[in-house]
Structures are given as C-alpha cells and as structure tokens.
C-alpha cells in the first residue's frame, strides 16, 4: 500500500495519509507465529488424539517433526515479512498490546490447568485404567493448556493490533 502525501480535503483540512490496513513488523510477526503454531500443533494434536496408546517413541518422533515444522514456518514467515517492512523495534504500543494479551492468556492458562487437574483427578479416582491415567496423556493435557494459552495470546495480539489500527 503506497503512502500518499498529505493533501487537503475540500474543507481545507489536511487528509490522513492513506496507509489503509498496513501492519507493523511486529503485527506481521504475530500473525506468522499464530499461523505457525496453529498449523504445527493442530496437526500434532489431531494425530495424538487418533490413538492414545502408541509407544512413547512415536510421540517423540512426531512431536519433533511438529517442532521443526514450527521453526521452519516461523523462519520462512519472518524472512518474507522482513522484506516487506522495516524491522522496527517494539515501541510502547507494541508493549501495551503484548502486556494486555499476555495477561488474558495467563488467565486462560490458569483456568485450563485447573480444569485439566480436575479431569485427571476425577479419572484417576473413577477409572484408574483409563487413558487419563497414562503419564503421556497427562503430559499432553498440560502441554495442550500451554499451547492453547499461546494461541490465545497471539490471537489477542492480532485482534488488539487491528482494533488500535488507524
């Protein structure tokens, strides 16, 4: 989107520069991380949920692929957006948006952890042989809480950037 020099409106007042919905480097970076995380971990968790009784080595291998995928997608995305915009250092608006989003994501994380604990405890007491008694499933449950909180954080950042955009 090309910047336009200020001109005057019909009433003689200067126009806004019409950058439209252009994004700062930080906002684009937020989108890259959000999409990379959703794709890599969405793929991993849907694979995980298909069968909860796989050998641990299978989880390690596929999780490794997901993490490498996350790193590769983030790196490629970062390179692409770097060419399209100045790599500005975060300013006070960036920090304000990140702080607000992190606070909300922390609450989501806390609630999800407590709910997960409730699920694990109830399953252990009522059905100790269920899948929720397996350490690998419990670990994934809590890891899923963390991933959910990160998705909420990046998502809220993206929303807050748009809401405060001119």
């Amino acid at each position: 989107l090309a910047a336009t020099h200020p001109a005057t409106d019909l009433d003689g007042s200067p126009k806004f520069e019409t950058h439209g919905a252009d994004m700062s480097y930080r906002e684009k970076s937020t989108w890259v991380l959000l999409v990379s995380l959703v794709l890599s971990h969405g793929w991993y968790f849907q694979w995980f949920l298909q069968d909860l009784n796989r050998p641990v080595a299978a989880y390690v291998a596929v999780y490794g692929v997901a993490v490498i995928g996350l790193a590769v997608m983030s790196a490629i995305g970062s390179v692409v957006i770097y060419w399209g915009s100045a790599n500005d250092r975060p300013d006070e608006r960036d920090r304000h948006i990140e702080d607000r989003s992190t606070r909300a994501a922390y609450m989501v994380h806390a609630v999800a952890i407590v709910l997960s604990l409730g699920v694990v405890f109830s399953q252990l007491m009522s059905a100790p042989d269920s899948a929720f008694a397996r350490p690998i499933v419990v670990v994934h449950l809590f890891y899923g809480c963390f991933v959910l909180a990160e998705i909420v954080r990046f998502g809220l950042c993206a929303v807050n950037y748009r809401r405060s955009a001119a």
Binding site: F16, M23, D91, R163, S164, A165
Partner: protein, 71 residues
C-alpha cells in the same frame, strides 16, 4: 476523559511532515503515530511530550482533554 489531538493539522502546518518523519522523531513506529492521530491509542505522557517537542509546541496545543459527563 475524551482525548483529542491536532496532530493532523500540526503535521500539515509543519511543511506536510509525514507520519513516518514524525514517528522517527518520536522513536516509535509509523503505525503508532497513525493510531495516536486517529484517536485509537492514547500515548503515554512521555510519548505525548515527544510528539509535542517534535512540533515545538506545548503539550496542550497537541492534545486536548474533555471530561466525560458523570451521571
């Protein structure tokens, strides 16, 4: 408190200073200047002063506050 500003007018009066130029003088991104100018983001007191300094104006000439009606 409703905060308004005259950045748009002041940029015009300052030889059509671009938002990018103002952003560089204030040490923030152009998007932040755009958000402040459009009233979508209330700057910190420090940034508000830096914007005023960039125009060589007192703070009150750049930002105006109107108390909201209390019911």
């Amino acid at each position: 408190v409703t905060i308004t500003n005259t950045i748009r007018r002041l940029r015009f009066d300052a030889g059509e200073m671009t938002q990018q130029q103002l952003a560089e003088r204030c040490g923030v991104t152009r998007q932040t200047i755009m958000a402040v100018e459009a009233g979508k983001y209330s700057p910190s007191l420090e940034l508000a002063f830096r914007i005023a300094f960039a125009f060589g104006k007192p703070l009150g000439d750049v930002f105006q506050a109107t108390p909201d009606a209390v019911s």
